[in-house]
Symmetry: C2
Subunit: 114 residues, 2 copies
DNA sequence: TTAGTAACTAACATTTATGTAAGTATGCCA
DNA sequence: TGGCATACTTACATAAATGTTAGTTACTAA
């Protein structure tokens, strides 16, 4: 396998690089929601089953730091925080869409009903 | 998030189901190699950087059990084992291809040379 | 009888990802 | 002053993925 470095971490494939950015249990679910409108922290919390504050804020922070979403703090009372897509984030959506479709196809092959 | 069961494990999204089948560090690298010809165990071992016997044989077994590749034992001396794609495995290739292309695109955005 | 090769397999250790519970900051309102 | 709300953050614990080392089977050739 080829290999390359980024931030002192070694990657062996481009696919591995993708998952370092948008992999894990919650990042794609977050991006998928935020794709067409601004979402508040509390909305995401309610909408994504079982996500803890720890994982939600960790993943939101990483997605911001990596440029996939952006964060707006609206100084109302109590404070309101909104997350929206960046252009880089939008580019991830077709890939997630392909994975979703493939997931449904596998589920069908395996006799799983959703 | 919606949810469904398969083999007593709970899944929340179709994407999660995809990764339960072809996710992890080595499954896509294996499928990507096996896509156009038969590969021997020892060839895969040499070709995939850093993979241990434990992970290689575990992943090969799971990919077989899940119907993505098939295994042929050729009773020469010493024994020869070959892995080839199934039709179900072939269907995964375009998805891996999309992920690879996206990986290269992210790497380019991030100034990483391969 | 010993050694060598291919393809595993099992036991145990470590690393990484995720879960749980509690606490913090800000500001308002009663 | 106390309590409530949103959006986190921290410390600690558990679970899941992967790594390491050694061993196994089956057969042949020296």
């Amino acid at each position: 396998m080829p290999q390359f470095l980024s931030n002192n971490k070694k990657y062996y494939t481009p696919v591995e690089y993708v998952f370092s950015k948008i992999g894990g249990t919650y990042k794609m679910p977050i991006l998928w929601r935020v794709k067409d409108r601004a979402w508040r922290y509390s909305e995401l919390k309610k909408s994504i089953s079982n996500v803890s504050d720890r994982m939600l804020s960790k993943n939101l922070k990483e997605l911001c730091d990596d440029g996939f979403i952006s964060k707006t703090i609206i100084p109302e009372v109590p404070v309101k925080v909104e997350y929206t897509m960046t252009e880089r984030g939008q580019e991830a959506i077709p890939i997630i869409s392909v994975l979703r479709d493939y997931g449904f196809s596998l589920m069908k092959q395996d006799g799983i009903k959703d």
